[in-house]
Every structure is written in C-alpha cells, then in structure tokens.
C-alpha cells in the first residue's frame, strides 16, 4: 500500500490541517515508510481473532442522573480566543 501526495492532501483536509506542498511531500514519504512497516501485520492470520479495544475488560459503568453545578459562564469562556456576552465567538458559518 502506497499513498499519493494528493491523497495526503485529502487526509490533511479531513484532519483540518492546512498543509504546504513541502509538508505534503514530507508526510507522503514518512507515512509510506510507516505503512511499509505495518505490512508485517499481514503475516498474521487474524480471521478468528476478536479485536481488543480495552486491555482490561470492564462493562456497564454508569453515573446516576443527578445534576451537578459546572462552570460559570465567565470560567467557561475565560480561555476563548474571542467571546462576547458569555458566548463563544468565531468566524461566520456560511453553510445552512
């Protein structure tokens, strides 16, 4: 499996990374080197093997439906790059 620089550009957009052409080239080389390293996994027949998402199996962890106080609007927006009247402010969304 080898990926092209064009495809790297697509992954970049999907990852919300504005990549320069130089970055795209470098990433294409690096990603292909890493993907080549992954090829060894194909040596293993895993058709009958279940996946492990968690190493320590657990199930049914829930919390009670009890409201708890959170942050004040001032605390919530304190680190916002831009805020106004307790709202987070960003560039205008044109879709919708």
């Amino acid at each position: 499996m080898r990926i092209t620089s064009e495809y790297v550009g697509q992954i970049g957009r999907l990852s919300r990374l504005a990549l320069t052409d130089a970055e795209k080239e470098r990433l294409t080389t690096h990603l292909n080197a890493i993907l080549a390293h992954f090829e060894r996994l194909q040596e293993l027949d895993t058709t009958q093997v279940p996946p492990t998402a968690h190493s320590i199996p657990m199930e049914n962890v829930f919390r009670d439906d009890t409201p708890r106080p959170g942050l004040t609007p001032a605390e919530a927006t304190a680190a916002a790059p831009e805020s106004a009247e307790d709202m987070f402010v960003g560039p205008r969304i044109v879709e919708t």
Binding site: Q10, R13, L14, R16, A53, H54, M58, E59, N60, V61, F62, R63, D64, D65, T66, P67, R68, G70, L71, T72, P73, A76, T77, A84, E85, D86, M87, F88, V89, G90, P91, R92, I93, V94, E95, T96
Partner: protein
Amino acid sequence: MTEFEAVIGMEVHAELLTASKMFCGCPTTFGAAPNTQVCPVCLGLPGSLPVPNRRAVEFVARTALALHCEISPRSIFYRKNYYYPDLPKGYQVSQYGDDPIGRNGYIEIVVGGQTRRIGIRRCHLEEDTGKLFHVSPQTSEVDYNRSGVALMEIVSEPDLRSAEEAREYLVQLRAILTYLGVCDGKMEQGSLRCEPNISVRPKGSAAFGTKTELKNLNSFRAVSRGIEYEIERQVAVIRAGGQVTQETWRWDETRQVTAPMRSKEFEQEYRYFPDPDLVPMVFTPDWVQTQQESLPELPRQKQLRFQEQYGLPAYDAQILTETRALADYFEAAAARHADAKAVSNWVMGELLGRLNAASLDISESKVTPEGLAGLLDLVANGTISGKIAKDVFEEMFVSGKAPEAIVQEKGLTQISDEGALATTLDAIIAANPKEWEALKGGKEQLTKFFVGQVMRATKGRANPQLVNDLLKQRLAS
C-alpha cells in the same frame, strides 16, 4: 401519465428528559442563559472524560421495547468524527453499526382506516451539539448549554408512502415517547426533530429512486407540507425528464418551499471507531425483562381501550391518545361526567381548538378536567343551555374559574319557568302579528324566528325546548 408513489424513511432525534446531560452532571433546563450549563466535559476541555447517564440508557431501552425492538445484548459507544464549531470535541459520541441499544422493531399506524406496520431499523443513544447563532455577517456565536444533552435517534425503514403516513408515524412516535416520559415531544423547541429522506418511483416499481434528505421541519404542519412539497418537486423533475440528485434540502417555513442546502465541500468521512473512554454496555435478559415490565400502557393499547371502555369512535380514541397528558385529561373528566362522548366532543372541539389558537399545552389549560365535567353537568341537568355553555367555557379558559361560579355571577342560569317564558312569548306574538299569521298559515320556517326572538329577549337564557313546546301549544289552540 405514469403515476408515482413516494418512499419515505424517517430519522427522528428526541432529546431525553434526563435531569443531567448524557456524559456529565450539567443540568438540561431549556432556555437557560448562554453557557450557564457547561463543565469541562461538555465543553470538551482537554483531559475531561465522559461517564454515561444510567437513566438515559434506560430511557432508550424502554423506548426500544415500546417500539417492539430487540435489545442488543452488548452495545457500545462509537466516536463519529467531524469538525464543526458546535461540536466541542471534534467528535460526537454516538452508536454505529449493528449494536445500537435497540434494533428491528415497528410502529403501527392507522391511516384512512388501514392499519400499517412501519419498521424501525434502530434506536440508539448519542449526545447533542451546542447551538449556533448567526448574529452578524462576520461572526457566529456558540452556546454549549445543549452540548452533551442525551439524544435518542430512531431510524425507520423506508416504509412510509405519503406525507400523511409520515405525519401519522411521527404523531404515533411522539405519543409513545411522551407516554414513556422520555421526551417532551416539543418540536418547536427542538426537543423532537425529524429528518425524513424522500424518494419517488413509478407506482408498482420495486426499485428505489434517488433520495433527498429534508431538514428544518419544526412542526407537524411543516412535516406534512415539506414532504408534500418535496414529493411534488421530485415528480416534476422526473416528469420534465430530469434526475433527482442526492442532496439535503431545507424546508423554508416563511416561503413554504424546500431549498437545497449548500453541498459539502467533500464527502463526509466520519471515521467511526469504538470510543476508548467508554466501556461496553451489557444487557442481561433479566434487565431487559425489568425494563419491559416497567412500560406503561402505550397509545395503541389505550386507543383500543378507549373505544371499548367509553364507546368512542376510533377517530376520537386516536386523537385523545396522542399525548398521555391529553388522554389523562380526558379520563379524569370522563370519570366525573357520565357522557364520555360529550366529554370527547368538548375536549377535541372547544378545548383543543382554544389551546391550539393560544399555542398552549394541555398542561397549561386553566380549564381543569373537573371544571369541564362540571360544565357538562350543568348542560345535562338543564341549568344552562349548550350555547351559554360555550360562553362559560370561554370565561373558564381565560380566568380558570369554576363553571358554577361563572353561571352564578353572571346570572346565566337557564330560564325554565313556564309562566315567565309564556309571558315573553305572548308579548312577542303580539308585537309581530304578520309573522304569527304566516306561521299559522303553514310557513313553518318562522318557528325559528319566534324562538330566536325569545332567546334574544332572555339574553340566551331561555330553555329552547320549552319555548318550542309553548309555541306548539299556541299554534294548536
């Protein structure tokens, strides 16, 4: 010309009536001031972790059971990855694949006297996004109060064939949700949201046409009109030799048309994978049994019982059971007034009419079931006429006063004193000799004239039956 039929599937999102959010303890009060119901978890702050709300899981499982779904023995949360300013983590915790909490169920709907079974593909749990406000041409603002509110998604099979069926499906679904107490069903507040996907095909064809998705349907009316409009639009496109393209359309409430939404720059790729911060949910048969046993009487069962127990027509039973609150209201009134059909007529006619006109919910009605039953008692025992009853009802609706008190205060008691009515009638006959002669001569439509004159003279309080009787006596003599 080819006849077309519509193929409609419904995707419904219902905000769950939990006291706290899906994965954190923030409250869920609607309409709170911006960013007052947020914490590190629902703001997606670095380092924060989700812990699922047990009640939300129970709510979805109970809904799934009410929709005749099977419960997955093992169900997990996935991350749906996409970027949007209202999505604080850059992914939505949702469910995916073949292990949602519930799957393969159905809803029964009755349209045009026909009962149809609409398949339910899946019933799953996820979290809501924040809310965006577009306040200036340059900026958008975000309030994360809604972020992380427990949201249930119910997806139907494409079994619906008309806007009317789609609407009825939604009515029945909302009824089930409100009966279970898992969702308040308020479309205008966005706690119940519906996104139909619609295609058309030549009648009798088995293949599916290209479907479009319809958004921004904020009322039952919008659902009906939007779907009807979209069906007509698609048929017109095909008839004109064109092709329907797969895209999302938006219902424009003001212009009453559908309009295409700006298409996405590139195809969505959500990169679903199991959320490593959350562990699997395992539902044992015992647990499922407990949930099943906790289900209340559901709308369809209640409809059949209303027909049986109160002798109501199917139509009445269907309307009265649309919400649990309405059904409870009816039953409370019917328990106090023997004529259930009269109660049904008043609830469906006057009460719902006035509530709808005032955009009020049944829970906000100042006319209590006791009040309504009292009013009908007054009509039944002849204290007031049906016509006066409507005025009394209006007063009750506005002031919330008891009907007896209103009748008392305004002196609206029906006049059934034969002597007094005879005096009034005789005076009217004397004042209208030409009409009286004509009536005597066989012009029977003038009966109404004389009764009307008596009613006017008594400000509507005369017992109309008695006036009729007195008139007949005088004609016969």
